[in-house]
């Protein structure tokens, strides 16, 4: 009973915050509501007994991405005001696309027969995760590392002063 109440509350907070992100007139308020939505998603991961994903969600989405967004907004002049224009000429196509995506996702969620595992989640998932990443899934793991390294080097080259 208690997990369902907590799930309901965190789902409500996540969805409410996500809605506020879209409808808010002030872009900085939207950014802070985005943080709340990320935190709500992290709490859902905790309920799913995936503490590693939950902590990484906080670390990357709140600690890095949200702070970057807020910082970028603060450094940009004039977009922190309340008279943000929320629509442009293509809003109808965007709305159609979003509705289509929603329908497709909803259809997938309801039509696929999701496998249900009845066994108890092992307590120490992070050790298993680490071993799997460096044995079974070592190639995708290394490819991701190389991609990140390339992004890092690329950003340094772009950021360097031209001579």
């Amino acid at each position: 009973m208690v997990p369902i109440i907590i799930f309901g509350l965190s789902a409500l907070i996540t969805l409410g915050a996500a809605l506020a992100v879209v409808t808010n007139k002030n872009i900085l308020h939207s950014a802070f509501y985005l943080v709340l939505a990320f935190a709500g998603v992290a709490s859902l991961y905790v309920l799913l007994e995936a503490p590693f994903i939950a902590v990484v969600q906080v670390l990357i989405y709140i600690g890095a991405i949200a702070i970057l967004i807020v910082f970028a907004i603060m450094l940009t002049r004039r977009i922190g005001s309340d008279d943000l224009i929320q629509r442009n000429a293509q809003w109808i196509w965007a709305a159609l696309g979003a509705a289509g995506l929603f329908l497709v996702l909803g259809w997938i969620v309801y039509s696929v027969n999701w496998p249900v595992v009845t066994q108890i989640v092992p307590e120490d998932t992070i050790t298993i995760l680490g071993q799997e990443l460096l044995s079974t899934y070592v190639i995708p793991f290394e490819v991701a590392s190389v991609l990140l390294l390339a992004a890092l080097v690329g950003s340094i080259i772009i950021g360097r002063e031209r001579e």
């Binding site: 900085l28 802070f32 503490p51 590693f52 702070i67 603060m74 450094l75 307590e123 998932t125």
Partner: protein
Amino acid sequence: MADLINLIENWIKNLLLGWGASAGLTGFILQALGSVLVVMVCFAIVIVLIWVERKLAGRLQDRFGPNRAGPYGIFQSFADMIKIFTKEYVTPAGAEKGLYNIAPVLAMASVLAIWAVFPFAVNVIGADIHVGVLYIVAVGAFGILAILMAGWSSNNKYALLGASRSVAMLISYEIPMVIALLVPVLLSHSMKLSVIVEAQEPWFIFVAPLAALIFSISSMAEIGKAPFDLLEAESELVAGYHTEYSGMKFGMFYVAEFLHQFTVGALITIFFLGGWTGPMAVRWPILGVIYFYGKSLFIYLVISWIRLSLPRIRIDEMLDLNWRFLIPVSFVNLVAVAIADRVMMEFTLARWIYVLVMFGMNMFILWAALAIAERNDQAVEREEFPPRPVAVPPGVDSK
């Protein structure tokens, strides 16, 4: 008697169960009581710490420090506390009310949340989660967010500047801090804080002194106090991100800062000074709690000593120290420790040889890094400006 805390816990548990409460509710009440206790101990310690720090600052700067309220001024913090409670809250015109009021609470919460996972003694552990180290790093993000909120919502250019500086500093110093934290994780094969504490034979400060040094420097930067107090440099920014705060709202930032410094002391204790371990700590868990707080207090005093002795560094020096020294050294250190640990695992060596090799290797990396830094420093050509006196005595030509 040896296990006072669990004795009390069991007594409350049996009392509640005797009153007919369900097992789930009893567990919830016990956890809530435990969290309240940890938070209250934190606040009580901060009140004492503020007095200790002011007295220490006074002594280091050849003055008395607080000496009016009570013997040796020990009631000064209480007097300040009562004063700050009665102060008026001023919200500046044009401030974002909501964010402005949330920011101090978030700043405080982000520091207190770290205490949730600490092991206080062999069987007195908060939430002993498997991702303890990551949790500590992740929760720190809320502190940065609180500074950004405070700086932006105050509708004050000084506050905004302080907040922007804080992001440049706190985010960049997080990198060496996290990499230095990986060394104890590597040596103890776990991210669980209780396992890290128990794996320390001897303390990790002897096995990985370089990681301890890097972690200490970068977490001192994370506190945002001198010598890294660019985000509230009085001479340039009034008070940085909390310029506009008054009364208890300012008090929360102030207490959060002190508590953060004590928390850093506790983190260094857990990762490098053996946490609660000490003579008789396993048989007498209450001794473990005393060791833990004692070591943390010692590190707190060392940090105070450092920050009271050093002047504030410039913003370019701050970034140079991080990106050109701490980050490369911490990467080299991590790789070297990983390789040395793995190689020595192949041979069954006595523990003291292992420690000696690790210590020597750390010292060699530190020496090499300092030598390279010295050489690079001499290679950089610095533009020198002649002194420009602002006040010129009358009758003297300024040229």
